[in-house]
């Protein structure tokens, strides 16, 4: 009984708090709710799916993401209709020191894809050991990037986004912008094993959001971080120095690619297939960069 009452109180509090929010924010909230209602998910009686996804949390976390999406990065998508229904791997470039590119891609899939999809992200092994962040990540659909998890997600028909460059891409220096770093091969083996279509995605904009001047991975290791970037504002302004500049994001989706072959092939054979995806993203880069008017507009 006490539990029920406290729930009701907290929802009343939320309404009160909501009343003070600007109208546009409240609209965004209800719009997200509308979109989430169309997402096919399997939740248990407590509102969680088997992997810890919680739609209420997604709804709350999506509000700032959508505000950033519309008003800060002013994201444009091209060809989002090409993402096929059912299981799919979105393979994208990774840049910009902090993974805003992942957040914007996931927001695009939630707000613009038909039907809306919740992107499941495959994260680094150390993500679950970060207090609070690990809970938020799990509730919004992020999993540790083990092959088992990825296969489970794909077999459940989910949309999984992967960044095969990993930290190599995220913390690269500015002179290497729009130059794809070495791709991991794991995603291709999983795509072959589960016969999943791969959609190449080029995110134009994130590569300029926080230009890296240098990377000191050894210092990072001392601090327990995978990298230690030096940028115009980091570490001079503290953690806030990693906040991205208001670049304009343009997300280009390519045609879905289907691959056939043995998932246990040797690296060279897998590498050929990975290069197909890589070139597809590079082509999208070329087009996207030629079409855009500027970095910030």
């Amino acid at each position: 009984m006490a539990r029920r009452r406290s729930r009701r109180e907290s929802s009343a509090l939320r309404d009160l708090f909501g009343a003070f929010l600007p109208l546009s924010v409240r609209d965004v909230g209800s719009e997200i709710e509308e979109r989430l209602r169309k997402v096919p998910t399997r939740l248990n009686e407590f509102g969680y799916d088997a992997f810890g996804l919680h739609l209420d949390t997604v709804r709350q976390a999506a509000v700032p993401a959508v505000l950033l999406y519309r008003h800060y990065f002013r994201v444009e998508t091209h060809g989002i209709r090409r993402v096929p229904p059912g299981r799919v791997l979105l393979v994208a470039n990774h840049a910009g020191q902090l993974p805003f590119d992942g957040m914007m891609l996931a927001t695009a899939m939630l707000m613009e894809a038909e039907p809306p999809r919740i992107c499941r992200a495959m994260a680094e092994y150390w993500i679950p050991s970060i207090p609070w962040f690990n809970v938020l990540a799990a509730r919004s659909g992020v999993l540790v990037g083990t092959p088992e998890n990825c296969i489970a997600m794909l077999e459940a028909g989910e949309c999984v986004m992967v960044f095969p460059e990993g930290v190599r891409g995220m913390n690269k220096t500015f002179d290497r912008r729009y130059k794809l770093q070495r791709f991991g091969l794991g995603f291709m083996r999983l795509a072959l094993e589960t016969e999943t279509p791969v959609v190449p995605v080029a995110i134009v904009g994130s590569e300029e959001q926080q230009p890296g001047l240098a990377n000191l991975p050894r210092v990072g290791r001392l601090l327990g971080m995978p990298a230690f970037p030096i940028t115009a504002t980091f570490p001079w302004l503290g953690p806030l120095g990693l906040w991205p500049f208001p670049v304009k994001y343009r997300i280009h989706f390519g045609e879905p690619l289907r691959f056939e072959g043995a998932p246990s092939d040797e690296d060279a054979a897998i590498q050929e297939k990975v290069d197909v995806v890589r070139h597809a993203i590079e082509d999208l880069f070329t087009r996207g960069l030629a079409e855009r008017r500027g970095v910030f507009r």
């Binding site: 009686e45 810890g52 809970v135």
Partner: protein, 305 residues
């Protein structure tokens, strides 16, 4: 009628299982403590699994099937005793099974043997390595028992042996560490962590053991319940209030409390409150068509204070 010997018959789970199996089998059991008021027709022998008297029980009863669940699961006993009883007791039991013509053996292991780590995938299958002792050395005896039993499957293929690894068992009768933990009024958790946890009802566990016996299962099987919820949801649904404590404080604090005997769990258990240890029960379901009867809400209801 076949005869089943249950070790640990006086425990909550053992008593339930004895009553459950009584209809189909002749049931006898051993335990270190007596079962006051046990039903007629069930012979209960008070013996230490490590002693010769245990072999006498085998010689006298000549069971055709054995369910091994006589383990010390708490950490209150003197150092080393838990390990000795669990591991050496299992070794003795396996030897007796080979000498006295047992045809069917079910070893009741635990889902904790995989260990709680940040890199754990969700819904681990039975082929995952058993790494619990890496971060939780106090339960390495469970890992060793599991390993002994799994090796036994291959050494004596004519004895139908199954090793069951159930997820967190809850219920009104079973004395599980997780049950005691959830029955507290204020339940300490690690601040900033809320892993998914799976639960299964004690009655469903009995059903699983019975199915393993009936099917004469051979192999290692995870046994899972109706699903997973975050730890904090489990605590609230069981009628408690989560008390999140910062980890740098909680580790040294609980380590001292444990050493002084004021807190029942070693600090290694904290990792199970931080990282998900979720198992896939597919192999068991495929082999037996097992379906659990109790849903999550009923499971939590059973431990509400």
């Amino acid at each position: 009628m076949e005869k089943v010997l249950i070790t640990g018959i006086s425990g909550g789970q053992g008593r339930l299982l004895a009553r459950r199996l009584q209809e189909r089998y002749e049931v006898c059991g051993v335990d270190r403590v007596p079962w006051e008021g046990h039903p007629r027709g069930i012979a209960v022998h008070v013996v230490d699994l490590r002693k010769k008297k245990f072999e006498d029980v085998f010689r006298a009863e000549l069971p055709t099937a054995v369910v091994h669940m006589g383990f010390i699961r708490h950490f209150r006993s003197a150092e080393g005793l838990r390990h000795d009883v669990n591991v050496r007791g299992t070794k003795q039991l396996l030897d007796h099974c080979t000498h006295y013509g047992v045809q069917n053996l079910v070893v009741f292991s635990s889902g904790y043997v995989y260990g709680a780590f940040p890199e754990n995938p969700y819904y681990m299958d039975e082929d995952q390595p058993l790494s619990a002792s890496r971060s939780y050395p106090e339960i390495r005896d469970l890992v060793e028992v599991d390993t002994l039993a799994s090796a036994f499957i291959w050494k004596y293929p004519h004895i139908r042996t199954s090793v069951l690894r159930p997820v967190n068992v809850l219920g009104s009768f079973v004395h599980s560490m997780i049950g005691e933990y959830l029955r507290q009024r204020r339940v300490p958790t690690v601040m900033g962590f809320d892993p998914m946890m799976q639960f299964i009802h004690e009655e469903d566990v009995c059903e699983a053991v019975a199915l393993a016996l009936e099917h004469g299962l051979q192999g290692v099987f995870n046994v899972t319940g109706p699903g997973a919820v975050p730890l904090h949801t489990a605590i609230r649904e069981s009628g408690g209030t989560p008390l999140p404590l910062p980890e740098p404080l909680v580790r040294p604090f609980f380590e001292r409390l444990f050493r002084w005997g004021l807190w029942p769990y070693p600090t290694g258990a904290l990792d199970y409150l931080k990282y998900p240890v979720t198992l896939s029960g597919k192999r068991f379901v495929d082999a037996t068509n097992f379906r659990c009867l109790f849903g999550l809400e009923e499971i939590f209801q059973s431990v509400r204070r």
